[in-house]
């Protein structure tokens, strides 16, 4: 497998461009650094690498042709949607082709009766719901990045959103994925029916971070828009109390449409940005949503209120209009950009833990803030136990990125220690590849590698992401023991 190399081999580049220019029009092939620069990173901008070539196919035939050439020339391929990924999954390779699916952005069909839509991979998540709205339908998974991120990227990351507790993740809302293997062979996973024949390869392909196949068409399920939705916002004077309130809601047999938490530093950052009217004195706030028929929602909101009050909420507000509900959510959905405004850089973590360990993790993070001298506001998909602590840093200050990464590594390993996982929805990518060595045994990692090779025998699709080599794990083990040593030392930094 190729490794990341910062230097572009111009002879090789000329070769590859020559071959691809027979397939793609001029404006669909980029190789000058000023043109490829916009593709040098995804949402994890600490990692950058100029790709050797960027290819922008418009249809399946072009995708297939590009893959066949790359296969023949033994060029690694990294697929890319909108580049909003937060784990470096779409980080290009200096000796590879970056295959952008952004130009394939047509909704091919939308059938309100069967409640499905067939879309190209570059269609934005929110565009599906916009198109379905006329029929009272929407595409349920709603990552906060939904106005930008693509369905191809969502499939690759198995993305979630604030409403996934009740409506499921990408994997629960996609029926079928069409695409091509690294060798350019057409493949179809799942079907237009509720299941497909044979092993459930669709489940494996969803969340596979572009390492098994390039997605060129997705059939998604559409969900009826609930008659109404209301959001309960509860304040707590203690973060752990808020965490326990989450468990109490579930214990009461309620599955809220969304159940999110923000701590005080996060709320304060967000409030300046969106003026949602958040309680700035609260140590934490919970957003708890109910949807359904008006009568059902009224009944449920009443139960939610009672549970949250019993759990020690100091104040409770219930949205009284759709505008007010959107306002409550606006802050939560804008949490990352808001934090981006109060700090030159921020680093988003994505561990998931059993809900009951929330308090323990929060104490641990607080201790890490002191240890590393960095602030860390917290936003959570609390209902799912999925944490997004945001470490604030300034990449221009020597060693702040390194301290940030060490901080993050400790938190992720703590997530594993309490029975959780290093990533709930953002993926491993290049970012958490070392923690994979902690979460999985050498045998499990070996199986993941064989699984990859079952789809991609030459290891050409997005190599060196997600699944670490045992060699890398051994090295990380050493680095880990020494401590304070820069992880990802082999990666270029700018």
């Amino acid at each position: 497998m190729s490794t990341l190399s910062p230097k572009i081999d111009f002879l090789r580049q000329a070769d590859v461009v020559g071959r691809l220019s027979a397939i793609l029009p001029d404006d669909a092939l980029l190789y000058r650094s000023e043109d490829t620069r916009p593709y040098e990173c995804d949402g994890l901008s600490a990692y950058r690498q100029l790709p050797m070539v960027v290819a922008l196919p418009r249809d399946e035939a072009e995708v297939q042709a590009v893959l066949k050439v790359c296969h023949e020339l033994r060029v690694p391929v990294v697929a890319r949607g909108a580049g909003t990924g937060l784990s470096g999954g779409a980080l290009p390779m200096g000796d590879g082709v970056l295959l952008s699916l952004a130009r394939m952005k047509r909704i091919l069909s939308l059938d309100p009766l069967s409640r499905t839509a067939r879309v190209q991979p570059g269609v934005r998540n929110a565009a599906i719901s916009e198109a379905a709205a006329a029929y009272g339908l929407y595409y349920a998974p709603d990552p906060s990045s939904q106005i930008a991120c693509t369905i191809g990227g969502n499939v690759a990351e198995n993305s979630g959103g604030v409403h996934c507790l009740k409506y499921g993740l990408t994997v629960n809302n996609v029926l079928r994925v069409r695409g091509f293997t690294a060798e350019g062979e057409a493949v179809e996973f799942g079907s237009e029916a509720l299941d497909g024949a044979g092993l459930d390869l669709l489940a494996i392909v969803i969340g596979s971070e572009g390492m098994l196949a390039v997605t060129t068409e997705v059939t998604v399920k559409l969900t009826p828009v609930p008659e109404i939705a209301r959001c309960v916002m509860a304040s707590f004077d203690d973060v752990e109390k808020a965490g326990n309130a989450v468990a109490s809601v579930i214990a009461a047999g309620i599955i809220p449409a969304g159940l999110e938490m923000m701590d005080k530093p996060a709320t304060q950052a967000v409030e300046q940005f969106v003026h949602a009217g958040y309680d700035l004195d609260a140590a934490a706030i919970l957003l708890c949503e109910s949807d359904g028929t008006p009568a059902e929602v009224e009944e449920e909101v009443g139960r939610m209120r009672a549970v949250l009050e019993a759990a020690g909420a100091t104040a409770i507000r219930v949205s009284n209009s759709e505008a007010e509900r959107m306002k409550f959510w606006a802050g939560r959905k804008a949490a990352f950009p808001a934090v981006g405004r109060i700090s030159p850089d921020y680093y988003c973590m994505d561990g998931t833990i059993p809900r009951k360990r929330l308090g323990e993790i929060l104490r641990f993070i607080a201790a890490m803030e002191i240890k590393y001298g960095l602030r860390c506001p917290n936003v959570f998909h609390a209902g799912d136990g999925n944490l997004h602590p945001l470490i604030l840093f300034d990449a221009n200050i020597p060693d702040e990125l390194e301290r940030t990464e060490a901080f993050a590594a400790e938190v992720l390993e703590k997530c594993i220690a309490v029975g959780g996982t290093i990533t709930g929805e953002h993926g491993v990518g290049i970012e958490k590849i070392n923690q994979m060595c902690v979460q999985f045994s050498p045998e499990e990692l070996a199986l993941f590698r064989e699984l990859k090779l079952a789809f991609d025998p030459d290891g050409r699709l997005n190599p060196s992401k997600n699944i670490p080599t045992l060699h890398r794990c051994a090295e990380y083990g050493r680095m880990h023991v020494k401590g304070g040593v820069l992880p990802y030392a082999d990666l270029p930094r700018f």
């Binding site: 009766l113 069967s114 509720l194 579930i250 047999g253 009568a295 079952a454």
Partner: protein
């Protein structure tokens, strides 16, 4: 690894060195399903490995050993006001959870709640080298590594022995009601699809012999207002429970008659809007429809090739769900795979079970 798990591992390693194959068997409740067993395979009694490992209702997650009786798990969840939302069929009194996952079959609630695979959060697996591997976890969201545990649902034991599985649980609905309508088949399909596009608390549907039954579950208020909107005749609760149970366990008259007449039972998984003529033109015999139109059962002696072609034309696939060993052997229980997909299947099988120890030929002859 526990003592028993070590014994399993030893059995696997012994089989590898003796070049024998193993037949993983929970209680045998799904022996009828899939390709017939290889004659010479030795039985590995997966049912002996049972017990609940961890259950915390507020986490909505339960972890059990593969041999745990499904009835025991369901009773435990019931006591805590929860359930397995996908309503798996048992097909026998001693059905195990591992067998339930391996068979990957879901019941009436599937169309709206999701299938077994949607509720599998993690698993420990004994692979064909005798190594215990863990995938997924005990949390709601987890995208670290490939999602192997979900793919165990429906794998029929071909990838390995399920030692433990973590499943997402759900609160039981407060209220339930079943409505009955008299509709011909095409109309039933149309109505089901129309209702499916509305925010109604649908939790099951079935049509047979001119009668359509629709179940609603959820909050009292939601069930009430939906019943009013939809019309139909409300069924008595006791009768309704019997009906859904008979669909889940295939004791319903439709299945009983098919069995009595010795007719092959075809399971057609198709888009919910698949027009009836495409299927009926290929198949004589009775139909029962579930999952909002997405699952159609046919008791039919029609030529298997035509049945499969019709399912394919309709955008789905056909399983010979029940039939004689000879028939399942000769035409294959499951719909043939696209060559590229079949190749991936073979390589995956080799990755998990390089010596082909587990359930050879149970899913497809070559895996």
């Amino acid at each position: 690894m526990s003592h028993l798990e070590q014994q399993f591992a030893e059995t696997v390693r012994d089989a590898v060195s003796a070049r024998r194959t193993l037949r993983i068997r929970g209680s045998g409740s799904k022996d009828f399903y899939g390709q017939p067993w290889a004659q010479d395979a030795a039985v590995l009694d997966a049912g002996s490995h049972h017990g609940v490992v961890d259950y915390e209702p507020t986490e909505l997650v339960v972890t059990v050993r593969g041999g745990t009786p499904l009835a025991e798990l369901e009773a435990l969840l019931h006591d805590n006001g929860q359930m397995l939302a996908f309503e798996p069929p048992h097909f026998g009194p001693a059905t195990t959870v591992g067998g339930m996952v391996a068979a990957g079959l879901s019941g009436p609630r599937r169309a709206t709640a999701g299938a077994v695979r949607d509720y599998v959060l993690g698993a420990r697996l004994l692979d064909g080298r005798g190594a215990a591997l863990s995938f997924g976890g005990r949390v709601m969201k987890n995208v670290a590594g490939y999602d192997v545990s979900r793919a165990l649902a429906g794998s029929l034991g071909t990838l390995g022995l399920i030692l433990e599985v973590s499943l997402k649980t759900q609160p039981r609905p407060v209220a339930e009601a079943t409505l009955r309508f008299e509709f011909p088949e095409a109309r039933a399909i149309e109505e089901l699809n129309r209702w499916g596009g509305k925010p109604l608390p649908l939790s099951g549907s079935a049509w047979a012999d001119g009668e359509l039954f629709v179940r609603l579950s959820g909050a009292q208020a939601a069930v009430l207002s939906a019943s009013e909107k939809m019309g139909g005749e409300k069924m008595n609760d006791g009768e309704a429970r019997v009906l859904w149970q008979s669909l889940r366990e295939q004791t319903h008259e439709f299945f009983a008659v098919a069995a009595k007449d010795g007719l092959p039972l075809w399971r057609m998984s198709v888009p919910s809007i698949a027009p009836i003529d495409v299927l009926h033109s290929a198949m004589a015999g009775n139909t029962l429809l579930e999952w909002g139109g997405a699952l159609r059962w046919f008791a039919s002696a029609s030529a298997p090739a035509r049945v499969r072609e019709a399912a394919h034309k309709a955008g789905g696939h056909a399983t010979l769900f029940r039939g004689t060993d000879d028939l399942r052997q000769s035409i294959g229980a499951f719909h043939p795979l696209q060559p590229a997909i079949a190749a991936i299947h073979r390589k995956l099988k080799t990755a998990f079970d390089p010596h082909g120890v587990f359930n050879p030929g149970r899913l497809y002859p070559e895996i």
